[in-house]
Each structure stands twice: as structure tokens, then as C-alpha cells.
Symmetry: C2
Subunit: 309 residues, 2 copies
Amino acid sequence: MEEKILIFGHKNPDTDSICSSLVKQILNNKNGYKNSKAVRLGNINKETQYVLSNLGIEQPEFIEKIEEGQKVILVDHNEFNQSIEGIEKAKIIEVVDHHRIANIQTEEPLYYTAKPYGCTSTILYKEFIQDGIEIDRTEAILMASAIVSDTLLLKSPTTTEYDKKALEELGKIANINIQEYGLEMLKAGTDLDDFSEEELIKLDAKLFEKNGKRNVIAQVNTVSIEDILKRQEKLEQTIKKEMETKEISLFVFAITDILNSNSEIIVIGNNANEIIQKAFGKKLQNNRTFLEGVVSRKKQILPEIDKNI
Amino acid sequence: MEEKILIFGHKNPDTDSICSSLVKQILNNKNGYKNSKAVRLGNINKETQYVLSNLGIEQPEFIEKIEEGQKVILVDHNEFNQSIEGIEKAKIIEVVDHHRIANIQTEEPLYYTAKPYGCTSTILYKEFIQDGIEIDRTEAILMASAIVSDTLLLKSPTTTEYDKKALEELGKIANINIQEYGLEMLKAGTDLDDFSEEELIKLDAKLFEKNGKRNVIAQVNTVSIEDILKRQEKLEQTIKKEMETKEISLFVFAITDILNSNSEIIVIGNNANEIIQKAFGKKLQNNRTFLEGVVSRKKQILPEIDKNI
């Protein structure tokens, strides 16, 4: 039997790592190389789950490590510390990537295609075109999903003209409305419906002390601030209970819209209004306010609160 | 003024490193990127001199080191230890190479195109085709010369189908007879006419002692064993003088045909005939004999002599 070549993206795989592995397998197949197989190095996230179940495609097989001399193709990464256990002794025959190059070494010459684009699938899209290989609906949706994911629907600063062009063309091939599909996909990835209010406020909460008082800034990512705000009343009750139990004097709950790069914050505490007024020049109404262009807790929220507390 | 991007191959540049730098500059120009400039990291060898003077092209400028942040394109190498002083702090925006990958690290994503072909220019040839850029006579000859050099006129074991195809097409574009041109070029590279007999026998001579006796195996590379044999009489006189002066008991002078992978050896010494008979199963005639398939002193000549001396 012909030796299998394994194709995989990085550990903690995102949609680009999974979709580009599957697409590279399809491209190889169409080019006559039938012995390559997409696998994955970790759990599939909710966003990727949405993509695969929509297409009725099974998850690639999970693998934990590889044997010496195993032939592999790396997509969406090249650094050995982001790759599989045993990669140092594998035979890397090809890399398709859009990251910097570092911590990679091979014994033999190989195929290496990197471009500074927003997404690996944009590079693969160009390979289909160059090779004159037809793109079917399945691979069009896989590649489009990867591009939507990596570029946050072309809004990330890493987006290039090539990503825009590829996404537009892939949308046509797949005959889907990219805006609608992309939003649904990103939404699925940030789907918080399964979480209780108590889980939500603890999902990503940072505690900091100042002047002997304990303060918390919690953050959730979403594509629909509104969806979360529907639960404001219950969220506030939960926050207040948490504050009593843990003796917290200020609680900031930031709901960050990853698509439009804004946040809505719900703030509970004795001097909440005064602090937010000084920190952001905005008044709380119904315990909340909108912070335009604010997405980073570390760089944009914490320093302002910390200064004015 | 627009910032210059420097293009260069490895240190001790061969014909592929020089020609591919020049061709990459031409390709960039034709693609609208007018600000890149081929340079070289070392002296031009005789073979490359032949190529450039035939085309009436000046040598690229020599550079010794580069400043921090200098934008560069690497061709025909990627390892920092084969590159220019200061490469660690340069901004590598692109690599076109046909070697293994190692000892390279960048801060930012980049263009990286490697293929396991026999020559960098074969990759560049494919880029012209992919980009739909016309190949003029000059760049056709530059690329053809690089392929002839790296693959020894398609005879090296590193030769791929892609090199063969590219060389054939480039020969047509340039309207030259590749066999004739290639032979002349390789000949120019191994041109030993400038060397005296004394220089020839010392050019690459290895001394080894055995049983208290001193023995020498010298080697020269050529594309025409005949050319060197025209000087046999003078060579023998010079060898004998050298043997007397330096108290050498056996002198093997190997003339290696790099194109056909054979050697002719001239052997002088008391037991020369007996030793060569035992070592290679061949008799010396007129102090010399032909060794088919023998090219490596280290692996094929020295061990046999050493065993039978």
C-alpha cells in the first residue's frame, strides 16, 4: 500500500488550520496525489464545527504524535513548537503557510509556499487557479470559511487585497451570501447560549486589587452585543451576588463585538458612575455604556479603570 | 527616493546564485517592482564570467554587509550562515530557493518559495510562466546557464523533470544549442589553461603517509580529459621533480571529467603498476589508465590506493 502523507495545521486548531488541511487534501487528490490525508492536532472549536456540520463533513482524525520518517505536509504553521510531537524526526515534504518563519529545520529540500496574506486558504485558492484545477462548492465553502475566520470577515488589519479577492470569488462559486454566511459562522464560534450567567461572568475574569479593594474586569467576545444584553437583568443579579460573596467593590463586565471592534460594558459598584465618567468620559445609563473602538482589556480598559479608581 | 531591495545568492557565489539574482531583478521589474537590485556576496567564478561576458552584462555590485532593517530577497539559499553579515537584523521579504530549510528566522510573514528542483532558476522560470511574463533572450540565457551549471547539463542526480523541461524551453527561447553552449560554459568554468603544470599538480593535492612513505593524490576537474592529456609529458616531468624534492614515493594525478563522471589517472612511482593493478584491476599504459565511474578521491581513489600500497 502506498505510504500515507499526513496533512495538518497547528495545535489548538482554528478554522483555517482545519479547513486548509481538508482543502489541501482535496487539491492533492485533484492533482493526482491520492495518498494524502488531513488530520487534526486538537479539538474542533464551535466555529469550525458549524462549518463542517453545515457541509456534512466529518472531523479529520485526531492524532497525538507521529513516527520517525513519517511524511507530512504542514499548513497554517511552520514552527515546531506549534506542531505535533515527533515533528523533528518527520519528513516534511511541503509547507503552506502565512506566518513568519522560525524554529523549523529539514534534512532535505522541500516544497515551501508562504505568502504574507491574511489566511492560508487564500494561498490555496491561488494554487487551484495556478494549477487550473476546478473549485467545487465544498472546497469553496471550506476556503471561504477559513478566510472569514482569520480576517474576521475582512475587518482584521491582517487582511490583504488577495484575501478580499479570494473571498469574493469563492462566494460566487459557492453561491452563498458571504456576509450572511460569515456572520452566522462567526456567531456560532462565539455562541454563548450554552453558558449560564454565572459561567459567563467567570469565563474570562481578571481580578485586580487597588487600595486594598478588590476589582474585577470580565470579558466575553460576541458578534451580537444585543444578544448578550437580553440577559442583562440576570447578569446583574449574578454579578451582585458574586460581588457580595467575594467582597468585590467594582465589577466591569465587557461585552466585546469582535466584528465591529467595540465594547458595551456593564458596571456595578459604589462609585461606578464616577469612575467610568473619569475613565471614558461617558455616563452609565441603566448600569451600562458603549465604548467605541475598545476591544482590549489589557490595553484599553484596565489602565483607564486602574487610573481612576 | 524609494527604498532599494537587495537581491542576492549565497557566499562564494556560483552561477545559479548570480544568474538567479539577476533574473529575479528582471522578473520584479517586469512585474512593476522597479526598486530591487541584484548584488553579490563574493567573487564571480570563471564559469559565471563566461555567462556574463557573453551577454555583455556587468557583474552585480559586491556587498560585504547590510544595515539593520535593510529589505532583502534571498535566492539560492536560506541559511543565515551562508548569507551576508547582518542578515539576522535584515528584513527578509522573500526567499526563492531549492535547498533544505534551516537556520533562518524572521519577525514577520514573508514570501517563501522553495521547490526540491535542481536549480533556483527552474523555480524562477515557472514564476515567469505563472505570472504570464514574457521571457526575453537575456533572461532565458541567464536561467539556462544556471540550470546547466547546477545540474551539470542535466547529468547530476539532483536533476528533476522540471529542470529538463525548463532548460529545453529556455534553449528554444534563446535560440541556442544547449548542448554546445552548456559544454562551452562548463569548459570555461574548468578552464585550466591559465595554470602552469606546477600549479596544476598542486591545485588540489592531498598528501598521505603509509609505512613511513609519502604519497600524494592530486585532482583536477575538467570537461575535457583530452585537453589535459595534451600536457602529459610536461606534467610527468613536473611530477617527477616534485617527487624528488619532497621525497614522495607515489604520485597519483587524477583528471576528473565532471560531465561524464569518469577519471583518467597519471601515476608515477616505483610500484605504480602493481599498486594500480591491485587497486583497480587495470594496467597502466604510458603511465596512465581510465577509471570509469570514478570521481571521488575521498570515496573511490584514496581507499583503494591506501589498501594496496
